[in-house]
């Protein structure tokens, strides 16, 4: 889902940067207020964690594997505003050092995976797990459903951003300049694999990690205090 350089026209990545700049501003003010001085190591180690989640291959029935994005997991564990910063940092490090995702597309990638995805997932998780006691199944079910839906919404946004390119930028003769596929091809091509494969990977990973944290010793209550602390 990482959009590389050259896929998006300036008319697309420009506005998405323009949206993300105030979002980053608000998020960092939020984080500063709730985390105070300890924010620096937590943000750095949290970003490294969100980078590492993408390295885990998760087996799914049928012998295939996929990796999760972890956007919703980070939002459930650290709160959505912290997730915005933490995932953005991970994406920026990826773009500059590992060539994964373009530099001009940082705005678009952060919008899809570091802003919309954690907020949508977190919102769904909160609705499902509202007033549930810390051991309730509703926590991991909520996280899992949130992961599935949020990943698919992020994928949908990605496919729409790509599919809009032939509409936005063409030469006079109709020659495409950026990602060449129109919406009616880009959207189904990207959505099918996310609806049927990666969505489940994300759901399994998010749900199982939350369930594990619920099951293991007193981490649970601490975890939920943590969440309250960061929201």
């Amino acid at each position: 889902m990482h959009i590389p350089d050259g896929y998006l026209s300036p008319q697309t990545y420009g506005p998405l940067f323009a949206i993300m700049i105030p979002v980053w501003g608000i998020a960092s003010r939020f984080v500063k207020k709730t985390l105070k001085a300890s924010q620096v190591p937590l943000l750095a180690i949290g970003s490294a964690f969100s980078f590492i989640i993408m390295m885990f291959n998760i087996p799914i029935p049928g012998g295939t594997t996929g990796h999760a994005v972890g956007g919703v997991l980070v939002a459930v564990l650290l709160g959505p505003w912290t997730a915005v910063i933490v995932i953005s940092v991970a994406l920026i490090v990826q773009a500059f050092l590992f060539g994964d995702g373009g530099i001009t597309a940082i705005g678009a990638n952060c919008f899809n995976m570091a802003f919309v995805m954690p907020f949508v997932g977190y919102f769904i998780y909160r609705i499902i797990s509202k007033n549930a006691d810390p051991l309730s199944r509703r926590h991991w079910i909520g996280a899992s459903v949130g992961g599935y839906i949020a990943l698919n919404i992020a994928a949908l946004l990605t496919s729409v951003e790509l599919g809009l390119q032939p509409l936005i930028a063409q030469t006079a003769s109709g020659q495409p300049l950026y990602a060449p596929f129109p919406l009616k091809i880009a959207v189904p091509a990207i959505m099918i694999e996310h609806l049927f494969l990666f969505g489940f990977v994300e759901a399994v990973a998010t749900g199982l990690v939350v369930a594990y944290l619920q099951k293991t010793d007193n981490l649970l209550s601490k975890n939920f205090e943590r969440i309250k602390l960061f929201v």
Partner: protein, 305 residues
Amino acid sequence: MIPEWLKSNPENISYSDYNPVLIKKRNFIDKTINALLKLLKEFYSEERYSQKDGLLQTVNPEIKIATMVFFLIYISLTRKLEILILFYLLTLSTAFFSKIKNSFFIKRVWFFIPLFSGIIALPSMFNLITPGRQLLVLYHLNEKYFFIPQELAITKEGFFGALVFVSRVAVSVSMVVLLTLTTKWNDLFKALKVFKIPDVFILVFGMTFRYILMFIEIVKEMHLAYKSRLIGALKVKENQRWIASQIAFVFNKSFKMSNDVYLAMVSRGFTGEVKTLSDFKIKKVDVLWISGAMLIGFLAKYLTI
């Protein structure tokens, strides 16, 4: 005496694991370990390029990153194939003067992203997706059969569209690869200051990168430990649980560690205020680099009109 259980045939051992044909089919453990090792290897093998004394290595990182981003935006704006080709040749010659082997540079750039872009752009050359003047008609049917399109042809618009797209991606990736190869990673993050990114985040970037390297080691060891203790195949569900518990473990570890690191930072005088040292110096090579970049920008603009 051999115990009874050793003589019996264990039920959950899958002999397919020992089948030399099937062993090639890698499971999720091998895949993860491989991906981690590849990332580390790539990073360490590329880090040495930043220590050579080529052209780009001597340019001030802040100036370098600013010009590179300027060029990236420029490349994303241009509509002409000639300009993209010109820029590609420029990145090749810059790589040469920065003492990066061209064969390595080309392989590093093209492998994966541009190659992958080329493959996905292939279908867009046909008239079904990009209508226009036909260059090469593959077939033409007199009647339309229910799902086979009546005509399949490569169009001029589709062909040049795909060409421009792939060239743009390749030139952009070349620029980014040049930047990462010739800059030490901590200088790279420090240089982000030119975009008015607050000092706190510059520090966070650097720390994130260090912890990524550390977590890679931890995850690699966990996977190796699991692999070395496995006999036969486990069920998908058990493996999923194991992976989830490892992610949770890394999370708990990182959360605990961030507290420890914070305390360590406080005991060394950290107050929450961050100031990165700035050693902004402009040398002769920087002036040359900027004037060269401006000249190229100007010339390219002239060419576009």
